[in-house]
Symmetry: C2
Subunit: 187 residues, 2 copies
DNA sequence: AGAAAAAATTAAGCTATCTTAAGAAAACTA
DNA sequence: TAGTTTTCTTAAGATAGCTTAATTTTTTCT
């Protein structure tokens, strides 16, 4: 239950009161493989911190094609930030790819905690900051790398993910069809 | 000179001391059209807040092709966050597309100000948060939209930019060649 | 204003990636 | 363990977007 605060403590000092304060805001939830943590079209009520398991965040385009935006495993976050913050309908859906345990925080607690706990506020600030950097890198990849290069980058950067996640979902993440990924691999 | 704090005050209350504290950390710099605010390969010393003018942030790939990552105009930020925060060599370059005035903050002041001023810290936190959302949207676009769709989205979403910035640079931003953008337009 | 440089257009031929479809392999489920 | 569903592979034909190169238009510089 305290895996999140353990994660925070790697970089920030937490008094035991602060730690309790943070833990009090999160509820443990479990999802079976294929279950949805979030459906698109509804307002996202939670941000999730993954304790174990693996989920995908994806969007379904107008042609009904799904595009995986990110995978989240142990010690990563997931959620539709836009929907969560602005209380708009979610354009993303989040689905468990394995049986998954998460810590969920609702929007009220998120706001209160961000105001009350300086550590939590700094922690999420740095989380956003890293996310900006990571997404910019990803964007550059999509603009300047070929599908083969993106694939090789993916398997070297995330070796464990490439074991755990089906090719179909990796292909979608890379922005190519599963057939083409299969074709790439045999080269 | 106080355009940044005016921008901050749209969403946050600032005492005049805090305002002075923030302003003290920023220095006005001007760049002529085509001048570089940042060259790639060196550590980025500043984050920039654009007062007027327009700049592009871009990366040059292994084939020497430039890819525009973002444009920044009045009241937007630019900088290589990764390089600025981690003191690593910058992979991006930033170039003025018009004569441009910016407010620049160096890394020491940035850190001090983030600790000293709660408003500034909250402001940049929200800035990062919005950037994450915006970049995720952009990623989705690149994954699920065709070049024509991306172009139309761009000109409706950023009508002023599409006037100010050359097609060549818009094409690069959209991830297509200028020839193909020209082809698209005549349809 | 005129010359030089940069940007935009046009078009032909090319390549990366997609689509469709069918069969093989693997993963669930009863 | 067999049957069913899902995923992976293979291959042929189609298409979006690229490359090259020549021409025109626009911008910049003197």
């Amino acid at each position: 239950m305290n895996k999140l605060t353990r994660h925070i403590k790697k970089k920030y000092n937490l008094t035991s009161e602060e730690e309790a304060e943070i833990n009090a805001c999160f509820a443990l939830k479990t999802f079976n493989k294929k279950a949805f943590l979030l459906q698109n079209g509804i307002t996202s009520q939670y941000e999730f911190f993954v304790i174990n398991g693996c989920v995908r965040t994806f969007i379904t385009d107008l042609n009904g094609v799904e595009h995986n935006i990110m995978f989240s495993i142990e010690n990563w976050w997931c959620g539709d930030l836009q929907s969560f913050i602005n209380r708009t309908d979610s354009s993303y859906a989040i689905q468990a790819l394995e049986n998954t345990e998460v810590l969920a925080i609702n929007r009220t607690d998120w706001e209160e905690l961000s105001n009350k706990s300086e550590v939590f506020s700094n922690y999420t600030r740095e989380l956003f900051q890293s996310a900006v950097i990571a997404q910019q890198n990803r964007l550059v990849q999509n603009l300047s790398f070929t599908a083969i290069e993106r694939y090789h980058y993916f398997i070297t950067k995330f070796p464990s993910l490439s074991q755990r996640v089906s090719q179909k979902h990796i292909a979608s993440f890379l922005g190519i069809t599963p057939e083409f990924l299969s074709f790439i691999k045999n080269k």
